[in-house]
Symmetry: C2
Subunit: 500 residues, 2 copies
């Protein structure tokens, strides 16, 4: 009886996973190889497949099966019970949004995205404002559909970081912000020259491409179940357990951007390649939150890829690729070049110490918008004041201010905090990793990432959605998530680098 229903459930989840995979491929192609004139048709294809996916997820028959299985969940083994409860969570949530609303949301955000592109190019917030007003109206409506106890922002952040709330984020961030600002102030007070001369110039592409592929392979990324391509903005796309693709970029004047992108996306991809085979095409083959996913990318990008032992191994290789341009450049030089701290206007270019301050600015603004304490028209002023407060900088124009990020144009409100949480989780997990693998650095120094990957597979990847973000971090580190490990990590690393 249960067996038959479970088979039916898995069959339906397989269909839903297949539709999601098709959507992922349409998106991957859109950013990599799609011919330019195909853009508007691609938008329609994505809208249609999203609607079909929503229809499959909210099919009454699926709901009925899930409720029946859930009612007799004592007859299920732990994995099946989890599969049922997690799917029921998704279905219940999806069913709260009428299909007409989903469609309106997609159409509105599609137009808002176009407006944002123009607005950013012209640095004119006014072009984006009416669209963002519609978006804010819709996400508030979405919060009402989804329901919430405390703040409507809670209902939105739930989509990205399940269980997280506005008040918990507020608590974390009000503790974090002044301590980060204080650290940055101490660093900035230290005299530091310009970027070193050797970092300037143009860098041949194919050598950098080969380096980034080499690093991905060394990390343990499986190229038989994935591939790397180029795109304007690097991303990871998952089309099933055996097809997890990354992209990177290679700006001619930036020696390290392709490599750090590959490390970051490689971290995401190793997670997606590390779910259990038995979870294939089911709800469980996913991370529990974007924050946890980001912890994986940031751990590889920053804790590993911006460490001295990492560059002890890779600097000679890099020098071989660029013998004249990098003559005399040592690991220590690269390490210092990659870890320069200076407050800047653009989030995606921010260093480890200032990055979370950028996020906190966005969180404060979007929370105020959703809770009705600020109006869309007030965003530029709000933004500029906050950047001055946290980073001590004057914002010269909206393109380098409140128009720099794509997220709000997509209707993604409540997304930004997951970046900051990713950094917090990464530091907390890394503290545990260094405790559990005392000789980690000597492995890294020899380009051997197997102990690290094995730890991540064991403590994080294999669980999929079996544990929440909080459970994963707590079980792996022995502590509930907090700001402390991140601040300890930064203070240690940058204290040494800047001689504080």
């Amino acid at each position: 009886m249960s067996h038959e229903k479970l088979r039916d459930l898995r069959c339906r989840l397989g269909e839903i996973a297949d539709v999601s995979a098709a959507i992922s491929l349409l998106r991957w192609d859109q950013e990599t190889y799609m011919p330019p004139k195909a853009a508007s048709g691609r938008g329609q294809q994505l809208a249609t497949l999203s609607a079909i996916g929503h229809r499959l997820l909210t099919a009454p028959e699926l709901g009925r099966i899930l409720h029946e299985l859930n009612d007799s969940s004592d007859q299920l083994d732990a994995d099946d019970a989890k599969l049922v409860s997690e799917t029921l969570y998704d279905v219940t949530r999806a069913a709260k949004l009428p299909e007409s609303f989903v469609k309106e949301f997609e159409e509105t955000s599609s137009q808002a995205y176009e407006a944002w592109v123009t607005a950013r190019k012209e640095s004119q917030f006014a072009v984006f404002q009416p669209h963002l007003e519609k978006i804010v109206g819709l996400v508030r409506q979405k919060a009402d559909y989804l329901g919430y106890a405390d703040s409507p922002y809670d209902a939105l952040v739930e989509d990205f970081e399940r269980g997280m709330t506005a008040s918990e984020l507020h608590r974390l961030f009000t503790e974090l912000a002044p301590r980060l600002s204080a650290l940055v102030a101490r660093i900035v007070a230290k005299p530091e020259g310009d970027d070193p001369e050797w970092l300037k110039g143009n860098w041949e592409e194919s050598a950098r491409w080969d380096m980034s592929v080499r690093v991905l392979r060394d990390m343990g990324y499986n190229f038989a179940a994935g591939r790397q391509d180029r795109s304007v903005h690097p991303f990871t796309m998952e089309m099933g357990l055996e097809d997890v693709r990354v992209t990177t970029r290679l700006s001619p004047d930036r020696l390290f951007d392709g490599l750090t992108a590959s490390l970051h996306e490689g971290g995401h991809a190793l997670y997606d390649q590390g779910f259990q085979e038995k979870d294939r095409r089911t709800t469980l083959a996913a991370g529990p939150s974007l924050g946890i996913h980001e912890s994986q990318s940031r751990l590889w990008e920053n804790m590993i890829g911006r460490s001295l032992p990492f560059w002890n191994y890779y600097t000679p290789m890099l020098r071989e690729h660029f013998p004249s341009q990098l003559a005399g450049v040592e690991a220590e030089d690269v390490y210092r070049a990659l870890n320069r701290v200076h407050p800047s206007l653009i989030r995606v270019e921010a260093d480890e110490c200032t990055y979370n301050l950028h996020i906190i600015v966005r969180f404060e603004i979007e929370r105020a918008l959703i809770e009705g304490q600020a109006k869309v028209s007030e965003i530029p002023e709000f933004w500029n004041a906050k950047i001055t407060e946290y980073l001590g900088l004057a914002v010269p124009d909206d393109a380098r201010g409140c128009l720099q990020d794509i997220h709000w144009s997509h209707g993604a409100v409540g997304y930004f905090p997951t970046y900051a949480l990713g950094n917090l989780y990464a530091a907390q997990l890394f503290e545990a990793i260094l405790r559990d693998i005392p000789d980690l650095w000597s492995h890294v120094e020899h380009g051997d990432f197997r102990p690290l990957l094995s730890w991540l597979r064991t403590h994080i990847h294999q669980y999929g959605r079996r544990k929440t973000a909080g459970e994963l971090v707590r079980d792996a580190s022995g502590q509930t998530p907090s700001n402390e490990p991140f601040l300890t990590y930064l203070t240690g690393k940058y204290g040494e680098l800047y001689g504080l």
Copy 2:
């Protein structure tokens, strides 16, 4: 009233087109960039999306709308009436096949394909035989579901060449075969040496790639609405009017294979890029039959790409790419090298004179299988005898005999004849083109294909499915389709080449 129904119809057809586009992208990716381990997951994704497409096409509500519109078709303009009748044709046909049958068919042919790959590699028909027996059983069942007046083969060929029948094909082919055989016999009787020395050797890839892109662009292929990539077997894939992609291959020891593949696929692609904008995402944006589609590819590949004027223009360019390897090679040399006639075992390598004989062998065998006059176990013997009869060759093994083609493993019975029809249609259309554009060759000789493309757009492409294959050929050429123009074309061209 009709207006609202038409809008509903177009909305549903748009969804169906979007699902088809996603399927096309999944297939394109499968043959170009997909990582190897993704293969089995990709099969499931394709099966799911095909089932969803079938479900959308056979939705009762769509049938109801179509019947209502069809009943009052006198109130519709000609285009809308055509849209309704063509869609009703598709829906009625799809509805005859139960979804369980569609699924069984897909699973069986998926297994048959795997078996065929092994069988061909090992040249063991016995490995493929039980699978092909299942396939033949299923396609006969399919014929019964679909219904037919005369032969069950008629019901199958209808999928690929609507309106065509076994007896009509038999009439055409029994007339064609002896005349082709006689022509080939006269050619073979002429003494001819080996391939010229200059044709041997290894050919650098990037120059050949650039040449093939150049030719595609010259043909009028729009790279803003398409792209070319590499694959093992060249193909064209259409994901909507603004996204029609081709692939080519570049074997290191074959100077011309990439170029002829680009010409062939370019011919298909120009057709798909040439449908009317107003037919976007509807039933009408397609060719009426595979034979007509193939006529476009063969016309560009053979009538143009294997002509002397074409090589008068491109030989100097080719020589520039390979100055030492092609020193002293003239257009006439290339023209002769590309038009050597010699009976061979492999269809895809066959010249223009012997190609259709390969098809006739396959037609006779598959018709006999479907009509119950032959058993699957008898195929190798049947095949080998026919190859000896038509081409005078002994088949050394099944890999170079009845196992060489993929089609039957996919369950595509009734497909092969469309290749032969493509050649017939192409010759008949080309006769009309030379009549309508008397100075065609002087344009071709200057790399100017605009008059040709314009003729094809006017007489073929723009109609989509508004005309049947027969109507297109008759309206464009003034004659019903027949063997004569093809035989006249071959006799003229090869009579001159071989001094018959």
